[in-house]
């Protein structure tokens, strides 16, 4: 599903260049539940952004669903994101003046689905994350956990191939965190590839494969106990 070979990325800082990713090789198969671990500055967010087509890499190859990602313009990237990828962010990134239902329906709008149809589909997904009764509330009327569940519903609504979650539990307490992780597990059990970034061991332990990043290189890549148990 995701295949990365000798990936490099650096950011210019003044005249110097900050080399963030130094030759990453990573292969994630369809249906995997992977977490990327690392301290801040390890390059894990950069990796996710590149995988999510939110940023471009400098060197190396990136194949998404077998397609080589190269010289994408914004329009093509937008189409691919809409088709293959779902995002869950640490800060939720809901649109503040839209209701929970409208937020979930937004990706379908960009997909070109009719309003009536997309509201039905969106309601379906809100129901899945247990927020049907909150459909017409604005984000600021929801708790953090509820917001993240809305964001997950929004990430799933286009039936993407991969769900990318950047510190999905970073802004949540431990109980809500577990609820969110359970939700991601359920999604994974339905066959969707899930790609989580975190710096918390407990969160990573709930996934099936942990990739550890340090200073822009992979230092370990192993299956978790949870995965081995299966």
């Amino acid at each position: 599903m995701i295949k990365i070979e000798k990936l490099h990325k650096s950011y210019p800082i003044g005249k110097e260049a900050l080399h963030v990713l130094k030759g990453i090789d990573l292969h994630i198969k369809e249906g995997e539940f992977v977490s990327i671990m690392g301290s801040s500055g390890s390059g894990k967010s950069t990796l996710l952004n590149i995988v999510g087509l939110l940023d471009e890499h400098d060197k190396g190859d990136y194949f998404l669903n077998g397609q080589l990602i190269k010289n994408l313009n914004e329009k093509k990237a937008a189409i691919l994101r809409n088709k293959f990828l779902g995002f869950v962010f640490q800060s939720f990134n809901l649109i503040s003046y839209k209701t929970a239902l409208e937020n979930v329906a937004l990706p379908l709008y960009y997909k070109g689905m009719k309003r009536k149809e997309r509201l039905i589909v969106a309601m379906d997904y809100l129901d899945k994350v247990g927020l049907k009764d909150w459909a017409n509330h604005l984000p600021n009327e929801l708790s953090g956990g509820q917001k993240q569940r809305v964001a997950i519903a929004r990430a799933l609504v286009t039936k993407p191939k991969v769900v990318l979650a950047d510190e999905p539990t970073g802004a949540l307490d431990s109980t809500t965190s577990d609820a969110v992780m359970d939700l991601l597990k359920d999604i994974n059990n339905e066959g969707m590839t899930v790609f989580v970034i975190t710096h918390e061991e407990e969160i990573a332990a709930q996934t099936s494969r942990i990739v550890r990043l340090k200073d822009g290189v992979i230092i370990s890549d192993e299956l978790t106990k949870a995965a081995k148990a299966i």
Binding site: N49, G52, L54, D55, E74, K75, A78, I79, R81, N82, K83, F87, F89, N93, L94, I95, Y97, K98, E102, L106, P107, Y109, Y110, K111, R115, R154, T158
Partner: protein, 410 residues
């Protein structure tokens, strides 16, 4: 293409961000309001100028004579100049192709009497063309004609107010009145847009007057309407040439203005035209300045708004929005706000103009202040264009920010 979903997105965005929408709208509305008022008042001023010359035909010229002020060819100053049929016919023959209408005019002041009613009136002895030069409107009967002139008939055309004075509501046409002791037949009643004074006079044939009052061929003035095909400059040149020719013919010093002069409406028209042109130029300058200030105002607000929404655009792009769809959304919103606000300003301006229109006419020489449809159309184009520009440039910039950068914005 009409995209209901797009409009829904836009209305939601406007509705949820009322303050900034109202603020950006206000800038445009205010600019258009000022623009409308400015244009309306100047067009009112222009209407007044045109109205001031409405009494007489636009192409009228007048040959007038007084006394010489310069000696010439042995003739002394202070000589009294007298126009006569000779000059009248000379002008008629010499400039036939440059003249549309021509009439002589003799002023008299006589008592007109009908039964027991009598009053003093200005009497003008004229040729039939006078009707067109003075824009006399015939209410009843007819104006003087050539056979009245030939026959030196004792016929009279009286003004509306003369009829009112002497006859009240009764029939005047066909009655005989006593003018300075002679009996005249009333053949017509007229009105005139020039005001009451122009309706308290009477017209008789010039030939009749010459025969009855002095038995000579003298006339007071020669009135002309120059050929309307002549350009303003050609008409002015014609006036100057006629002035020179007449002075030469009557042995007057070529520069003696106070002996004989031609008063030419073409010169006045040119003056008014230049003045109004300058005024409009100033208004267009100030007006477009106001509009540009409005456009800059809304551009500033749009830049701020788009900065504020950068993160939202980042989210939308992460969810699959193409850059064009974001630019389109912002531009459409901006055009919508500018157009609605602009029309509010325009309507308010037009409304204020109609409200104050009447009081302005009395006090400030401004008549019917209003904006023409062409101005309205032009303003609409400017509005839509300014909305486009104000929205497009910053939106284009925002849409090209990488989503990762946009998402980090706060």
């Amino acid at each position: 293409m009409f995209d209901l979903d797009r409009w829904r997105e836009i209305f939601q965005s406007i509705n949820k961000n009322r303050l900034r929408s109202v603020m950006s709208g206000f800038t445009v509305a205010f600019a258009i309001l000022l623009f409308t008022l400015l244009f309306g008042i100047v067009s009112g001023l222009s209407n007044s100028f045109k109205g001031a010359f409405n009494d007489d035909a636009k192409n009228s010229m007048k040959v007038r004579v007084w006394k010489t002020s310069k000696p010439y060819k042995g003739l002394q100053t202070g000589r009294r100049i007298q126009l006569s049929n000779e000059e009248y016919n000379y002008v008629k023959d010499e400039y036939a192709n440059k003249i549309e209408y021509q009439t002589a005019r003799i002023y008299k002041n006589f008592t007109i009497k009908y039964k027991n009613e009598a009053n003093n009136y200005n009497i003008r002895a004229v040729n039939p063309d006078h009707q067109f030069l003075e824009k006399t409107i015939i209410d009843e009967g007819r104006y003087l004609n050539e056979s009245d002139l030939k026959g030196k008939s004792k016929v009279i055309v009286i003004g509306r107010l003369v009829k009112k004075d002497l006859f009240g509501e009764k029939q005047a046409l066909g009655k005989r009145v006593n003018v300075n002791g002679s009996s005249f037949l009333i053949i017509g009643v007229f009105s005139d847009e020039g005001g009451d004074n122009e309706e308290r006079i009477a017209y008789i044939p010039v030939s009749t007057a010459q025969m009855m009052y002095g038995n000579n061929n003298h006339i007071g003035q020669i009135l002309l309407g120059y050929n309307p095909d002549l350009s303003l400059n050609a008409a002015i040149a014609f006036g100057h040439k006629m002035e020179r020719d007449l002075r030469k013919k009557m042995n007057i010093h070529p520069d003696d203005q106070s002996a004989l002069s031609v008063q030419n409406m073409a010169e006045a028209n040119k003056g008014v035209g230049l003045f109004m042109g300058a005024l409009y130029a100033i208004v267009i300058l100030v007006g477009s300045g106001t509009l540009i200030a409005g456009i800059i105002g809304i551009s500033n607000i749009m830049i701020f708004v788009i900065k504020e929404r950068t993160k939202e655009f980042g989210i939308r792009k992460a969810l699959g929005a193409k850059p064009a769809s974001i630019v389109g959304m912002v531009v459409q919103e901006s055009v919508l706000i500018t157009t609605i606000a602009g029309y509010l300003g325009l309507s308010l301006g037009t409304y204020i103009l109609t409200l104050i229109g009447d009081s302005l006419e009395a006090d400030y020489f401004i008549k019917d202040p209003s904006v023409s449809p062409i101005i309205v159309l032009g303003a609409t184009v400017v509005l839509v264009a300014s909305g486009l520009i104000a929205g497009y440039l910053p939106a284009k910039k925002a849409a090209n920010i990488k989503p990762i950068v946009a998402l980090r914005a706060d």
